[in-house]
């Protein structure tokens, strides 16, 4: 009853492990697959090896988690030699990429496509090296990046992952759709920081970072709702989903699939089977046989 088709990819359920959580190695992907995820997203990769920011990189507070990991990663070339291919695992694997310039997004997409992921997710929330503001805040940059990635992704579907740290997320989603994106992943973390009173210093090594977890959910639901109104392509609704009812809410806002990340902190990778069981229980109770019956239903008058 939870079977979902996303950009032609058949998922046993709509839950997708969000990028940056556990998706490091083939063995860790399998671990999350066994725990019940419908698909797994790899940690983001660019053209080079990156060490990321000084620690503390992440900690949790009453509302969720703050992180400033700084996109560390082994780089696409090392990933190619470690993984060889991504289509031989027990769940569909999504490859997440980013670049420092619009051109690099295209180059990294071409390399990622060689690994045969089920979908390529594009993180446009990282700052542009030339302009020092995130690509994702500029519809023209998003349009260009989407075109570059699509041109290099062979026939692999492409999802553009958007940041909530902007004025009008629907406009950015529309720019991605017009440029050929097959899906939208919404949302990335919201900009945040925390100061320790005793040391009088920001706790994150990078001073500022992004917030995820339960406190992000209402923001994510609003973004998914706005994007659903603006575009026709499917949405991977991500942000604070911790329970089956949270996932149902995301689908009612218009999401096709549901990203899950920080929830692993509260319940471990087993949170996937927990969420899907809770979704099924809710559906049975309300006599809903397919998620198609409720997708976007909150938009009805």
């Amino acid at each position: 009853m939870l079977e979902t088709t996303l950009c032609g990819i058949r998922l046993k359920n709509p839950t997708v492990l969000a990028s940056g959580i556990l998706g490091i190695s083939k063995e860790s992907i399998e671990k999350v697959a066994k725990a019940g995820a419908g698909a797994v997203t790899l940690k983001s990769l660019c053209h080079e090896e990156r060490a990321g920011h000084p620690a503390p990189n992440m900690f949790t507070f009453e509302g969720g988690m703050l992180n400033a990991v700084g996109l560390p990663g082994q780089g696409i070339y090392n990933a190619i030699s470690e993984f060889r291919r991504l289509d031989d695992l027990s769940v569909p694997v999504f490859g997440s990429i980013f670049g420092y310039t619009e051109e690099q997004f295209g180059t990294v997409a071409e390399k990622m496509a060689r690994l045969k992921p089920a979908l390529i997710e594009v993180d446009v929330s990282c700052p542009h090296v030339k302009y020092d503001h995130p690509f994702g805040t500029d519809p023209e940059a998003v349009r260009l990046i989407t075109q570059k990635v699509k041109a290099n992704a062979r026939n692999i579907p492409v999802s553009i992952k958007l940041s909530p740290n902007l004025h009008n997320i629907a406009n950015i989603a529309l720019a991605a759709e017009e440029a050929g994106a097959d899906a939208i992943t919404a949302i990335n973390t919201v900009a945040a920081m925390k100061i320790d009173l005793e040391s009088r210093k920001p706790i994150l090594g990078n001073r500022t970072g992004g917030m995820s977890g339960p406190a992000l959910k209402p923001i994510a639901v609003k973004c998914v709702y706005d994007i659903y109104k603006a575009v026709k392509i499917p949405i991977i609704g991500t942000g604070g989903v911790t329970t089956g009812e949270d996932a149902i809410e995301m689908i009612m806002a218009g999401a096709t699939a549901v990203g899950i990340g920080t929830a692993c902190y509260y319940h471990g990778p087993q949170v996937f089977s927990r969420i899907t069981q809770e979704m099924e229980a809710w559906m049975k109770k309300h006599n809903i046989r397919s998620l198609d019956k409720i997708r976007g239903c909150s938009h009805e008058n």
Binding site: I24, E27, S28, A51, A55, M58, I203, G205, C264
Partner: protein, 259 residues
């Protein structure tokens, strides 16, 4: 909702243990089991995992080896300075009778609170030279091996371990140290059919099982470990062979240790 925020603790005393090795004691009661670790935040510098090496009623300590920016930062601290602490994290050692404890280098810090609670264990401590020996006054009867023979027996801890396994009834071997040493210990225990538990070190970021920085084969070291049985380690495809750098790149254990 659970939280994992660093809480500031004041330094009560600093003890020089050996060459380039110190124990920092912090004020407060910490509830933890032998083998668990904490995340230590030095504001403005970095945050690193550290084994708890001593537990008292109103203070706890961790022993560190000065090797980089973070530990040099720790060297500059004084009594009264503040450190942020998260944790304790991870699983813990079983506490069986008739145990042998093998500690290599600063790995000795990870088994120190275990030795405290065990009933008369045999302790083997391997160090580089006589200047690198830890806790000589704390564990008076330990067997010492040094690389250069400047104190105790010259050579590897496994030579002393082999002798004990051949002559004494041993129920379990606990170990922490350089992974090449632990691999040799695990292999020897397999050969002598003696159970074994080892404390594993990997590059860590979150400490609570979600970032994936510390994956070793199918295990997440910070939450599935850091203590693993010899059986688990023998079945692990990466133990004793490779580890991931700060960037996530998987390299040989030799490259990881920079040798």
């Amino acid at each position: 909702m659970k939280t994992d925020l660093p809480v500031m603790h004041a330094i009560t005393r600093i003890k020089k243990e050996a060459q380039d090795m110190r124990t920092i004691y912090l004020k407060g009661k910490l509830s933890c089991k032998p083998g668990q670790f904490i995340m230590v935040w030095l504001p403005g510098v970095d945050e690193k995992p550290m084994a708890i090496s001593e537990l008292r009623s109103n203070e706890f300590g961790f022993t560190y080896h000065t090797i980089g920016t973070f530990t040099r930062g720790l060297d500059s601290l004084k009594v009264g300075s503040l450190l942020g602490i998260r944790g304790p994290y991870g699983n813990s050692f079983s506490q069986k009778k008739k145990a042998v404890v093998v500690g290599g280098g600063v790995g000795m810090a990870s088994v120190a609170t275990l030795i405290d609670v065990l009933d008369n264990p045999i302790v083997i401590h391997g160090a580089k030279t006589k200047f690198h020996i830890l806790y000589k006054d704390r564990f008076k009867d330990m067997i010492i091996t040094t690389d250069d023979g400047s104190e105790g027996e010259q050579g590897f801890v496994t030579v002393a371990l082999k002798r004990i396994l051949e002559t004494k009834k041993v129920n379990i071997v606990y170990t922490c140290g350089n992974e090449f040493m632990m691999k040799a210990v695990v292999e020897m225990c397999t050969q002598y059919k003696v159970p074994c538990e080892a404390s594993i070190e990997r590059y860590m970021k979150c400490g609570f099982g979600i970032c994936g920085a510390c994956v070793m084969g199918d295990k997440v070291v910070c939450t599935d470990g850091p203590i693993f049985t010899g059986k688990e380690l023998s079945a692990n495809l990466e133990f004793g062979k490779c580890a991931r750098l700060k960037t996530g790149k998987r390299v040989s254990l030799k490259e990881y240790y920079g040798v």
